[in-house]
């Protein structure tokens, strides 16, 4: 467009030249005919013709300027003014780039997590079936999957029994398709003798057809594959196909082993498909009815999965029939499910709190990621929004100051007849130019920010699946942001700048029209101080949260402990062979030089994992039903390895593992709860629950309370029991002499010697493992400190600029005051008074805002209240120091003004 326009204009210019030349030639010709010499004639013609330049200018006027040309003109002019002020331009563009970049980066995560639709056919029609109850519903005898316990909305989950799925599916007149799926966990996949642990997903036969997904190779799972007794088939992800088979067509039809069971690869998913949960990226899709094949007793498992009406494990999604709304569908389905749960509740007690079906929009898939990140992201978004606001205020302030400097220029333009609107537009173009330069640089900042944030969020977890990127939507957001900020910080200064009193401005008389401008300046400064205070308080709250998490007493020693996980059951071991396998490895690891102590447990401490079971104490009266306790299944020397002190009795040793009479260690909390003021050693407890089978243990020791699954939760009652014959996978803990990760190669080698089909997974150190559980808090502390520093820096620059400008504007006044006998101290205090007024007002507003808003941070804090006095005091102190630093120099300069020079300046 610009290009084309340019050429057209060029063409017109030559045409005009030709036209004029032609006229001149004809004129000269006439003169020659009437007797003049050629030279005389040409001279006379040119003389009579008049001013050619003026003529051209007049004609160009008639061509008219398109808005684009005017814009180009404004841009050229704006570019020139910016280049004349490189310091201002650089500062403005940089602060904008930081502000816009931070916003874009956070927004790209929001886009990836909260807004992106599943890459399937018509995602808008998809719905998710969830249910809610007040507490843990009694009718749910077992649940495998995720559930959420929210203090406000109660219990919720998306898992259903298979019979309920069957019932809801038949004769369904509100959903055109209904399909089920469940997490298969990590499976040991052996291809051509080489084993990997990969994530699997169980899917119903109509899963792919309902979603409208087409295979990249072979075929996808169909209803024929999903029935008892069908040939075991799987579908692999595109990613796995590329990684493991280099996209070879031979992959389809190949035999593989899943947890030692033979399967055949039927086909490959398309590249963009990742399942229905953006949080996960399963590499294997397995028919639902193949699930029992992985278990010890397939018949028993099949009975539980497909016949048990009280075992909740299957997640369900569906597709709305055309014209059906979510609420209509919910009414129908909820009524059916209501009848189902009613019929499956066996006692009156179970009928008290029955789960109720709720439909949710499913276009962006299962909401596990949204649950985890939406609140933190909104908080971060609010913070970066505030930063951008400070940047805008800063630039507006700078522009105001600059407008004062350009007052004469603007006055000249206005007096020469430029329309005010035209000048405003010119000034606005300049600020938009700034905004777009900032935006472009901001995209680059965002790219870095995304990488940095991904790295922060992943924190060493290799299973991290969240991938944000600069999509078209995100770039559109950036563009809009640049546009809005450009107008935001440009418009008011532009309007102010053109409101000049032309005559005094032309005569270069100071300060006549600047009263209102100064007021605006001050308001912006006050607002910056307030926002900076708010962000600083938030930063200190998060930093204090992190430090109180770090100072949580673990009850064990997390330094120099290597963690890794093995799952021998998946590699085909069971019963006594399983125990022997683990015990054998335990003995082998003990010979590694540098290993001081070692043990194993069914999961690592403070890893987020828990084990819960019902417990009964002989002779103890329990008011309602069951009591439960946390359990950890451990190997020998667990307490000495983790350095957990034994308070009474002794710890579990190698010989306790296989004793026919089972013994256990309990923690302090358990002892105090069940045996108050008694010696628990020698006493018994039963983990058999209400199943009838008794599973009795004798307590042989009491351990000091140590953190169990989380730093934030109080230490629960825990029983530590021998692991034998009760586990699948085990976590090993190796206490080492020096850097624990240095031993990983040796560990892998030893495992390979014992069984080449057994991958070593979840390699970590205990301290990093703990750190990963407080990831959100850590990120908040780090990011928020960055943000607060940035905000403070920008505000200081803004304040400095404003104060310097004020002093500059008042040089004359100060000169007069000094000439009339005011001493330096008085001048300084005059300037400082203004600063104190701005500071105090800003701080007051900031404190009020903090008072009203910090409660939104409550759920992110640990070990302190949102209105933590220390944080508020500290933040205020930091702000005061920053204010003094920002204003010191201008105040000093004011005091050094020489009255003579100042007055002559006028």
């Amino acid at each position: 467009m610009m290009q084309w326009d340019f050429w057209r204009r060029k063409r017109r210019e030559t045409d005009l030249d030709d036209e004029i030349a032609h006229d001149l030639a004809l004129d000269a010709e006439e003169r020659i005919r009437s007797g003049a010499t050629r030279q005389e004639a040409e001279q006379a013609s040119r003389r009579d013709f008049g001013n050619v330049l003026l003529l051209k200018e007049g004609i160009r006027e008639t061509w008219g300027w398109t808005w684009l040309q005017r814009l180009a003109q404004d841009l050229r002019y704006g570019w020139r003014t910016l280049r004349k002020n490189p310091l201002f331009a650089t500062m403005a563009v940089l602060s904008l780039a930081l502000g816009i970049g931070a916003n874009t980066a956070i927004f790209s995560f929001m886009d990836a997590i909260l807004m992106r639709a599943l890459p399937v056919w018509r995602p808008g029609d998809l719905v998710i079936l969830n249910w809610r109850a007040k507490g843990a519903p009694g009718v749910v005898h077992g649940l495998s999957g995720s559930w959420y316990d929210d203090p406000h909305t109660g219990w919720s989950s998306g898992d259903y029994p298979f019979p309920a799925y069957d019932l809801l599916r038949t004769n369904n007149n509100v959903l055109s398709n209904m399909f089920g799926f469940a997490d298969a966990g990590r499976l040991n996949l052996t291809v051509q003798g080489q084993a990997d642990l990969i994530d699997g997903q169980l899917v119903s036969g109509n899963f792919f057809s309902s979603l409208g997904v087409r295979p990249a190779a072979g075929r996808l799972i169909s209803d024929d594959d999903d029935r008892a007794g069908a040939t075991p088939t799987v579908v692999i992800s595109y990613n796995y196909w590329r990684r493991r088979f280099a996209k070879s067509a031979d992959a389809v039809g190949q035999s593989i082993f899943l947890n030692r069971m033979p399967f055949r690869i039927a086909g490959v998913c398309p590249p963009e498909f990742f399942g229905v949960d953006p949080a996960g990226a399963p590499e294997l899709f397995i028919p639902l009815h193949a699930a029992p094949l992985f278990t010890e007793d397939p018949q028993d498992d099949a009975k539980r999965r497909f016949l048990d009406k009280n075992f909740y494990w299957l997640e369900i999604m569906g597709r709305l029939r055309p014209g059906t709304s979510i609420s209509e569908a919910q009414t129908v389905l909820a009524a059916r499910f209501q009848r189902y749960v009613n019929s499956t509740a066996s006692t009156e007690e179970e009928k008290v709190d029955l789960p109720a079906l709720v439909l949710a929009a499913g276009g962006s898939g299962i909401d596990s990621l949204r649950r985890e990140y939406s609140k933190p992201l909104f908080l971060l978004m609010a913070m970066v929004g505030l930063i951008l606001a400070i940047a805008c205020a800063n630039i507006a302030n700078l522009l105001l100051a600059r407008a004062a400097a350009r007052q004469r220029e603007i006055a000249v333009r206005l007096s020469l007849g430029a329309a005010r609107l035209r000048v405003i537009r010119q000034l606005l173009t300049e600020s938009l130019l700034l905004a777009f330069l900032g935006g472009m640089l901001g995209v680059w900042v965002a790219e870095l920010g995304i990488r940095f944030l991904t790295w922060l969020l992943a924190n060493g977890r290799d299973s991290f699946t969240l991938h944000a990127s600069l999509s078209g939507q995100v770039l559109a957001f950036t563009f809009a942001l640049a546009l809005i900020t450009g107008i935001l910080f440009g418009l008011v200064p532009a309007i102010q700048a053109t409101r000049v009193d032309i005559t005094p401005a032309l005569k270069q008389i100071r300060a006549s029209a600047s009263r209102s401008r100064l007021r605006l300046n001050k308001m912006l400064a006050i607002y910056q101080v307030a926002i900076s205070l708010l962000l600083t308080i938030a930063a200190i709250l998060f930093v204090r949260t992190l430090s109180s998490l770090h100072s949580v007493e673990l009850g064990f020693d997390d330094e120099n402990v290597l963690l890794f996980r093995l799952n021998a059951r998946q590699a085909g071991y069971s019963d006594a062979a399983l125990d022997r396998f683990y015990t054998d490895l335990w003995a082998r690891f003990r010979t590694i030089p540098g290993v001081l102590d070692l043990s194993l447990s069914d999961f690592a401490l403070v890893s987020g994992a828990t084990g819960q079971t019902g417990v009964a104490i002989p002779g103890r009266q329990v008011p309602h039903g069951r009591e439960s306790t946390s359990v950890l299944k451990i190997g020998p020397a667990f307490f000495s390895t983790m350095r957990i002190p034994i308070l009474l009795g002794r710890e579990l040793q190698e010989r306790d593992m296989t004793r026919s009479f089972k013994v256990a260690v309990v923690n302090e909390v358990f002892a105090k709860k069940y045996f108050p003021n008694q010696n628990p050693t020698g006493r018994h407890f039963d983990l058999g629950g209400d199943g009838g089978k008794s599973d009795e243990f004798e307590i042989i020791g009491v351990a000091k309370a140590a953190r169990y699954n989380s730093l934030k939760q109080a230490i629960p009652p825990v029983v530590y029991i021998p692991f034998s014959q009760r586990v699948d996978g085990m976590s090993f803990e190796l206490r080492t002499h020096s850097d624990p990760l240095g031993l990983v190669a040796t560990v892998r080698q030893i495992v390979r010697q014992v069984d080449p089909h057994l991958p070593v997974t979840d390699v970590n150190t205990q301290s990093r493992q703990i750190d990963q559980t407080i990831n959100t808090e850590r990120i908040f502390a780090q990011l928020c400190s960055c943000f607060a520093t940035l905000a403070l820096l920008m505000s200081c620059i803004g304040l400095y600029g404003m104060m310097a400008y004020t002093v500059e504007r008042r040089t004359g006044e100060i000169g007069i005051r000094m000439a009339l006998g005011a001493d330096r101290r008085r001048i300084i205090s005059m300037v400082l008074r203004e600063m104190i007024l701005i500071g105090a007002t800003g701080l007051t507003i900031g404190l009020a805002a903090a008072w009203g808003t910090t409660r939104y941070l409550e759920s992110f804090l640990f070990g302190l209240k949102p209105k933590d006095p220390l944080a508020i005091l500290l933040a205020t102190g930091i702000l005061v120091v920053a204010l003094v630093v920002a204003c010191y120099h201008p105040a000093l300069r004011a005091s050094r003004i020489d009255p003579l020079t100042a007055l002559r300046h006028e």
């Binding site: 032609h22 008049g50 003529l55 007049g58």
Partner: protein, 115 residues
């Protein structure tokens, strides 16, 4: 618009009439800028001499309004010349202007009639 102080026997053109004169001149057929100026001078018996500084902007303005169009042709001098031509809209405009002008002349004459 067009005026000339140098010569006694020339008159000032009334504002807004130049466009009408140009359209009138082009009624006889396509003409280049120089030709239009000459034609007006000749048909006014040298009373009106249109300056190029007024003539050419007027031509371009009329062209921008779509009342005349132009095309490049070789002129008598064997040079590239821009010839202007009336458009249908231009013809209509000329008729309207002409009747307005006649009315104006009549009305002014009536007012200025010796008592």
């Amino acid at each position: 618009m067009a005026h000339n102080n140098r010569s006694e026997n020339r008159i000032e053109l009334l504002q807004g009439t130049l466009d009408m004169l140009i359209l009138r001149t082009l009624q006889w057929g396509p003409q280049h800028g120089h030709g239009v100026g000459q034609a007006i001078r000749q048909s006014s018996a040298d009373w009106l001499q249109i300056e190029r500084g007024s003539l050419y902007p007027a031509l371009h303005r009329l062209e921008a309004r779509g009342l005349i169009t132009s095309e490049w042709k070789a002129s008598d001098l064997n040079r590239r010349a821009k010839y202007y031509r009336l458009t249908a809209a231009g013809k209509k405009e000329l008729v309207a202007e002409q009747s307005k002008w006649k009315l104006l002349v009549r009305v002014i004459a009536r007012v200025m009639r010796p008592a």
